[in-house]
Symmetry: C5
Subunit: 91 residues, 5 copies
């Protein structure tokens, strides 16, 4: 899983049939210091996340398994909200 | 899913048998500000997208599931058209 | 699928058993302007491509499905030859 | 598998149901000289690793197979602790 | 498949159970000119490769299929030794 932040929403009317009713969020990948790292992408919401929340996500075939329709071909989903990050970089 | 724009078409006569009849589009990946990010690639059209449209796509095994022949080994497909992007980067 | 050009061949005697008889080509990834982009890699030939041809390929689990032995663990295969690329980058 | 170091922990209360009870570690990818390479990410702990340990991990569908619930959609897991690395770069 | 060179070995005592008995090699990815490209990683040996050998490898779910235990969650394996590379970059 990777760290990210919800930064927006995607509105889409014309789409594949199984995406009807799916809430699509825009997610900015972050490094462990919460700095942006790479391009934002579109993820399916699974846990009612909102803009500004620090989350961890997956971008793979496994992402679809957390949806009600587990066969939905979603390749990016939010798995959880980060409450706290403990970092200890001692060598 | 990632953001992209349809920028062209690929004409291909000699190809694997299951690709017969598939419309192949050239897609330019975009970041959330709609700037190009990375190389264009070839995606199967699934929702009758046209040149210039802002779309979101997948590039994984799941992409093939949206085709009529779900076992077709396509690894990139357009999932939907973006009507609007709401971005809110407040910290 | 991504764009590439066949730039050579790989000769390999000692290999996993299921690769016997497979023709292994060296492919250079290209961007949409046909400029090299990234390192060349080894792909299974599926459509009798030759050196210098512009092709599109896949590098994923799906690649193996185009082989006679669909369970062969090949992760890169050529899917088709590009006859023409139509590119239209109007905004 | 890739080399990494455990550099922290992620505390997460709101998450998908199957992640309940999973210990989530923050892992810094390393090159073969043990220098950081790329962003830290979130991995499931499988072998009771602790902060500072040199490990090797996977970030793919296979990662979930090492969990008790092998269908858990985890895409990153620690596979083992590195005791020693022998490197020999002679040409 | 990608080109690489075996540059070492990984010794690991504490690991997931199914990795017992697996020989873990350190592999340096190479471009087609045999120059290093990216970080070295850990691959399962499948064809008794030794340090210094030019090989081609896979880093995906398919890698595990070449092992005796095909369900072993290995995501990187050596598929063959390169005897010769013929490169022809004529335009």
């Amino acid at each position: 899983m990777k760290l990210g932040k919800v930064i927006g929403r995607v509105i889409s009317t014309r789409k594949i049939a199984s995406f009807e009713g799916l809430k699509l969020l825009l997610v900015q990948p972050l490094d462990e210091n919460r700095n942006p790292s790479g391009d934002a992408f579109v993820a399916a919401d699974t846990i009612q996340s909102g803009v500004g929340e620090l989350i961890y996500y997956e971008t793979s075939k496994e992402a679809g398994r957390v949806l009600v329709n587990t066969m939905n071909p979603v390749d990016a989903a939010i798995m959880g909200i980060v409450d706290e990050l403990y970092i200890d970089k001692r060598p």
